[in-house]
Assembly symmetry: D4
Homo-oligomer: 212 residues x 8
């Protein structure tokens, strides 16, 4: 991977034919090619044309990638979700990170309304080098995690919720206004972007290590 990250296609609004064509072109340049927000139906269409494409259902990602990926650089990305409904966004982050050659630890369903489940799994926080925290509804989890963690926290608001959630605006504002320090926020539902930023952080760490 030239830049350290796979080439990625944003699926929505593209036909199967368009995605297949772009994937074919990218394949010339890069060992790993992926498309996000792919429904099972669209994936079936892609695979009929490109046999090598694998589907990561929970992540809604279709990808062409070698069965075993070379390790990108040291460090672990911990990925947490507040609820089970946030899983699709979290898996988008996890699979993107793994396809980029990073090591990932998952911790689902540790929302702040049941704070002890989070505290009982504190070791995931303590053993990660960068954290991606995914939460919809009130989006309060990143604040609590950043208070416990001594590493960068990337907060991903999700559109999970209803009523005064206003399509993810509520958790987005929550995360931007966090009273904890050490939090960077990405767009609503942007698991992919959080994974690339987390990877960028680990790669930077590797570069600094190498320099010193």
């Amino acid at each position: 991977l030239r830049t350290g990250f796979p080439e990625a296609i944003w699926g929505p609004g593209k036909t199967v034919t368009q995605i297949v064509e772009i994937m074919r072109a990218m394949q010339q340049r890069e060992p790993v090619v992926m498309a996000t927000r792919i429904t099972p139906e669209v994936h079936a269409g892609i695979q009929a044309e490109l046999r090598a494409v694998r589907y990561f259902e929970a992540a809604r990602i279709s990808a062409i990638a070698p069965q075993s990926l070379p390790k990108n650089c040291p460090g672990t990305i911990g990925i947490l979700t507040a609820g089970t409904a946030d899983l699709a966004v979290a898996e988008e982050a996890a699979i993107t990170a793994e396809l980029s050659g990073f090591q990932v630890t998952r911790l689902w369903d540790v929302g702040v309304a049941g704070i002890h489940r989070l505290l009982d799994n504190r070791r995931v926080i303590d053993q990660s080098d960068v954290l991606i925290v995914v939460a919809g509804m009130e989006g309060a989890l990143p604040s609590v995690v950043a208070g416990l963690a001594d590493v960068p926290v990337l907060a991903v608001p999700t559109s999970i919720g209803y009523g005064a959630s206003f399509g993810g605006l509520a958790p987005l504002l929550t995360m931007l206004n966090s009273c904890a320090t050490g939090i960077g926020v990405v767009n609503i539902d942007n698991g992919f972007g959080a994974a690339v930023l987390a990877g960028q952080i680990l790669r930077t760490a590797a570069k600094i290590s190498a320099k010193n």
Copy 2:
């Protein structure tokens, strides 16, 4: 107190003369009369006219009330804040509740970015019969508290914050979208309203008790 609560004047936009006049009129009908959002300067003006008026500075409340108030009904109102900047709103709630004859326990500065301070003071949550949780910025505290508590939680968003807080909109949305159950929300900075609702809840308990 006929309704169980003092008559209250909303201070902003009223002159000293107007407040004094309304207080004099109310004093005829009610043993406790209070005005909210009163600056020290305005209070000085009021007191020049009405010697009996006391000032609760942290709460920005001026009140005429007997030195020792009769107890309204059994039960304790726990009042928590996320930050020290939320104190003015929390004290507005606390003094309103006390002037109404309720027993109050205060717990300041237990925001979610330092979750252990909250957990270390858990007994305040466990020993209260109704909780008022005051928070600005990301407003996440009520969710955590409601997850720990087995009593009604009244959430008060404050206008403390800046930027994407949009005058308290951020914590307001957070509280409305809480994934914890058992939370009722009041207007931004409305400590007074939360205290009356909390009092109303305790009085309901007393009424049901009497019926059964």
Copy 3:
């Protein structure tokens, strides 16, 4: 019921298979299990797998529950709606409360544009220990009811309306800005949440009674 409330599943975005699976798991722990926002079609699918599941059509709730529920604690929850279109949200509240073992009184269609229908039914207000007031469009009913009532009022804005209702934002703001005291607001369409908070209030009352 350990916490005094049934375990609840948020239906939207879940497949029949997922709901059935979660219900089966919950059934091990709790006597009452319910799922909200369930369409008749989804319910049919659930029932094909779980014969014991009952459907509360107006409430859009599927539940596994003993035919006669033990009484949770004393007190009555009065539930009012402004219009008939608010009924689905109100029934979500009512059935949730009843499945939790509380006594419920219903009063539909007493919107403020016909104030006398509300006044003619005043006894529902007077005989309830906590009120849930459900209203869409301009959402003015909770203010009037809280003015008449001497008990806590839980206000539920609904997404019923069009144009400048902005998906329930209008009644939500109305309720937050109420000039009446003693009102707590929940998220748009959140009948379930209002019922749990109402139940929480009655249970707290029972606990205080027991202590005194």
Copy 4:
């Protein structure tokens, strides 16, 4: 009055000199000239130049007008407010209407949280030919009044309130979404505009009368 209404100057952002100049020019064409949103200080400045100018303090209006105005046309404009804080806007409407030669009945402080005070004064509603209803905070009064009245109701939201009132947005949305029929809404704090529209309605009556 050619158009049946006085010429009006919008005060804010204009210097005393500018207002005096415009008033002098208008005086040539029209018997009644008025300026709105005038503070006592600005009025003092105007009056130093134009002796004939009278000040309507509660309405914040400065006007040149004959001591007794000729009656414009038959009919009565009833003006109601929800709170006393809405008085400045309501008086802007009342004085504008009176300076235009219309008969006005005032009814202050009949907000929906104390519905009986409104009902006790129902005769003001019944005896008016057009109603102007002024309300801030949740702005629910016009809905109740329109339900009781059989005449046009003009709703004026005010910027009175705080927090989630968002400068009058809350009562504005409330009034636009009213489930009562027969309501027309004007801009936030626009007492002047409501008075002109009310006058326009009464003058239409006079014209139809004349035609038939």
Copy 5:
């Protein structure tokens, strides 16, 4: 017609069966019964049950009404639209007014981008006693019309538009901020409400005439 207006049902979200039932019940009390926002498919369903129901396709209204309606009271309601796409809302107003026994003059497609078409049809403005002006997109027509007219103008914003129209918010704000006087605004797409208010104005005129 007791109140001078037909009983009206809001169609969206109701089944054919529900609408038929409500219509049957209303028919007992009132000579004219109508339902708004009815698609051709829903109307077909209604008519299969209630033979007497007529369909006003452009207005999306189903109604039971005598073939020739008695005249309600003197005066003419002029209804204007800015574009042809606003026609459905305008016809909702027109048919509601006609079913209430008022006389209506229609003038379509006189948007401000072609101001001469409006001026060429000025006689519609001059010969109406109250005007309903329907406009989407930028919603500027009511301002121009109110400047030309000497009668009340009722402004109806529509959801016609795209992008920064935000579902009708743009024309709504335009109309509320009009620099012309004599304008009352109703909810987005609320042709029905504008017609009732216009009718209310004419009926009030008739009442005043009768008194004098």
Copy 6:
């Protein structure tokens, strides 16, 4: 002028000393230097340091410029305002254009509520090569002008207004949603930007002319 436009300083938030310093530096490079949003007080401070600075009070611009400016290129910029309160923004555009060497025609106070005043001055529209149309409140003027004109129309929303104007949001949306074609919109109150764009259009015209 190298780029055909003066160097410009955005005044707000800068001290007199800072503005003087930047002006001195710019003077080395450019014959015309200007600063916008300058109060009379700030100007006095600047002039105490830089004697050559002239003040354009209505435009709130301080500028160093030769008494007679060389003509930039052929063509006339017509500038219109809806109200007199929009004058400061319009003069900002006019003086910017004149300091850039363009010919300007001014037409103030031709708002759509008095359409005949605009029509009576139609020759300003017909004789301009590009039009800048400045309007606050409902912002409807650009639509009418673009319908009459056969040249580009640059629309400038202003923050003049109150209530539902929301700081100029209302006229901004109006202008973006115009049903007339040939309109480009700039930021609220951005008279300067509109003038530069108008000048750019005339200079482009001159370049095309030269090429052909």
Copy 7:
């Protein structure tokens, strides 16, 4: 072409029959007739009735136009997009311009995240007389282009994006707040409007040329 531009029909919400009818009527008056936002299905329906209609698929435009269009006036319109997903809006602009007889240069996919691709194609910017810049997501391209260009830049925000894009609000605000000068903004997705304004600018050049 009388006005220099084809007659255009806004497709959404119109039936095939309505579009065919309007096209037939327009054909009497104008040599070029076009309809925008036409799906392939709708076009098929139109063509079954009007054989001469051609379809521009990428632009979603159906048009009746002579095979070779006479040149409208000198000058070139450069059209740029940030991403490939913005292509439909950009082609709407391009085809509208071409059907109006203007010369167009296209440059797709030069978004600011890969600034060198833009710089490598700078000659498109340098050789155009007016630029249309189409961008969704963060909408930053017009600022960079306007900094490089010495001609008018027309910015078209698109609804391409998700989450905090809020349907195109994000790029719209970006473009309105540009710190580059010489930018005029049109409505979200309004390629048609940008093309007409660009054409209007070129035609102004021709008129000034003729005058001098």
Copy 8:
């Protein structure tokens, strides 16, 4: 420094006495203590009490810190601004980072409207290990920088701007919607938060280094 960062006080809304008191308490625990958003006047007050306090005027920070700070960990933080008006926020970030012992490189005034100035200074981008990019108005700079950089980019929107900037909302949305990858966003004007997150990233590198 225990956590690697100084203790920080949020200045706004605190009196000199309160700030002094908190600083005194913190000084017991930590070698570096700082307060943000401090005006020169407030600083003067603080220094009268605490002689050791230094003022960083451009950053609006008052701090107690040893003259030479020990280096925290390897790596350089590059800080860029789009305009000079963004300097206060950028300096808040820079001084916070320096007080935390990190090495900082500053690059001011490289906004996207003059892209060559940024490209000419590319070596700042290439030689930094993490970048903080500060921008108001349209906020487009982080997108361009993230496209050029191969390290994490922390984007700080500022409230610099007017009109449709809506207090920093415009650049905030721009940054969240960036089509470049590797960007994390913090609250409007939150230079402090960006510095802590950048420091957190460098410290992670050091920790990974130590582990490997």
